[in-house]
Amino acid sequence: MKILVTVKEVAEVDDEFDISGLDIAESSLEYDLNEWDDYAVEEAVQTSESHDDVEVVTVTVGPERAEETIRMALAKGADRAIRVWDDTLEDAQFLDVETKAELITAVAEEEAPDLVLSGVQAGDDANGATGVAVAEELGFEWAAVVNHLELDADAEIASVRRELEGGIEELTDVELPAVLTIQTGINEPRYASLRGIRQAQRKPLEVNSLEDLGLDAGVVDSPVERTSMYEPESESDATVWEGSPEETAGELAAFLRDKGVVDG
């Protein structure tokens, strides 16, 4: 059995940041493995540990910088990695859902996995759409926002729980092959061990260009065009207490006493 996990390197914005053109200034960004993908990688690795003959392959759309993140997934137990990038992607204004789905689908068609695990969303763009779009492109079944997974590989069924709003879970059987978008909390992602980190350096990491995937530059064309990025005007009329911790704590204490919600 083969599991393909989509792994994204996400940008996190510093508390104080600048906007440069249509994006956050590079100097205000730090990069990390997407939180949701961390859970997806863990779910795949746990499956490979509890079933025979499971290969875990990760796929990332991202520049060379993303290899740090990819190595992290390899250190946690993925077997090999594929990174998709080239100048056309580098030069695109941004990659919309359809473009990302096409790139990942092209890789999935080569790999022919039984299961694709992706995160519910990426922490930076928060489109929440790529996994299900890939499923449709591939002609796979799917389930979004999965917080429990049991695989019956022989019956080719994934029994999942989908986390709906308000503490309700939907129990659903999904025919394989399928794409599942993984929700945080489904498992406890491990930390990479020193041994894992060392081994990760030797695991295969293949880089594919559009041409390698049989795609042309048209894949980045999008009718959706970003026109501005700005800090939202704060709707806040919050009173911010200033001063030393003792002073601000004193203000809050006085407020709580005034309000009559606490004694003492």
């Binding site: 914005v13 759409a129 704590a249």
Partner: protein, 322 residues
């Protein structure tokens, strides 16, 4: 021209986002000078019609297919409706179920998709706004296409008022049962337990700013000193540091205490969905740009590890060694 919105229901009830979609849909239809059609798929469609007949709706299409949501039925139905009505915009809810079919429908129809839209403007092209980077920035996009799919963030638009004059039409679909690859087996409620945070008058709520499980006693000591109840954002529950019944937000509990003290919580949209109805909101967060300050009444922009011990002492509590 038409704008087509698709209602959402679960276990016998229409969800509020359906009525918000009517408002957003009417707004867009006015921009485009078009009609607004609303489709309701599955369940007690006749009963739903009455409730969906709100101001601004021109036509309601009922599709009596299945009881509960099944993404295969939704996708097939919407594709057929789309072929019939040829709408400019397809408006879908940015809910958990919306995200389970909207991307597939957009892909199938080969239409551009923008999710989690918070504002719409203009018509040629339509400009949509969404957030990025955890709500720290907003981005506008022009959609240069005749037809497109948008998912609309819940609770951004008001619900449409009752008293519509819509025409109701039955829409017959042709569902390929063989192509349905998922089966919904049932539902389960989670998050029961000894403590009901929805009953609390004062909630001391902790987020990822607490950093380590070992630091939780600090917040417990504060809750003790204030005689308040402890709640949290999602990562604290995901990490297993507090039980599920303490989680506030979209997938946890909706709370409305007199005072909600958000400590080391950024104010992500899914968290805010569960606490914005609190009477007074106090935020303690080192980041002055954290979205939580947009809805807070009072704030302390400082390190919780400095402020919380001082606050515990104010109320004569013992500060734990952490």
């Amino acid at each position: 021209m038409t704008v087509l919105a698709v209602a959402e229901h679960r276990r016998g009830d229409l969800r509020d986002v359906s009525f918000e979609l009517v408002t957003a849909g009417r707004e867009l239809a006015d921009e485009l000078g078009s009609d607004l059609a609303v489709a309701v798929i599955g369940g007690d469609v006749e009963g739903f019609v009455e409730e969906l007949n709100r101001e601004g709706v021109d036509t309601i299409y009922t599709v009596a297919e299945g009881e509960e949501f099944n993404h295969g039925i939704y996708a097939q139905t919407i594709e057929q409706l789309h072929a019939e009505l040829d709408p400019a915009a397809l408006l879908l809810p940015n809910s958990v179920n919306g995200l389970d079919y909207a991307p597939a429908v957009a892909e199938q129809l080969d239409l551009p998709l923008v999710t989690d839209v918070i504002a719409l403007e203009g018509s040629d092209p339509v400009e949509v706004t969404r957030e990025q980077y955890g709500g720290k920035v907003e981005i506008t996009y022009d959609i240069g296409a005749e037809q497109y799919v948008l998912t609309v963030r819940p609770a951004e638009w008001p619900t449409a008022t009752a008293g519509g004059e819509a025409t109701v039409e039955t829409f017959e679909t042709d569902i390929d049962e063989g192509a349905l690859g998922t089966t919904v087996k049932g539902f389960e409620e989670v998050g029961a337990g000894d403590v009901d945070i929805t009953e609390a008058e004062v909630l001391v709520s902790i987020g990822r700013g607490i950093e380590e499980e070992e630091n939780i006693p600090l917040i417990e000591a504060l809750a003790d000193a204030l005689d308040a109840t402890l709640s949290s954002s999602r990562p604290i529950v995901d990490n297993g540091w507090l039980p599920q019944n303490r989680q506030v937000g979209q997938s946890g509990k909706v709370v409305t205490p007199d005072v909600y003290i958000a400590i080391g919580i950024s104010g992500a949209v899914q968290h805010v969905a569960g606490m914005k109805g609190s009477d007074t909101i106090v935020a303690i967060n080192t980041d002055p740009n954290a979205p939580i300050y947009d809805i807070a009444d009072y704030g302390i922009v400082d390190d919780l590890f400095e402020v919380i011990p001082a606050l515990i002492e104010e109320f004569g509590g013992d500060v734990p060694d952490i």
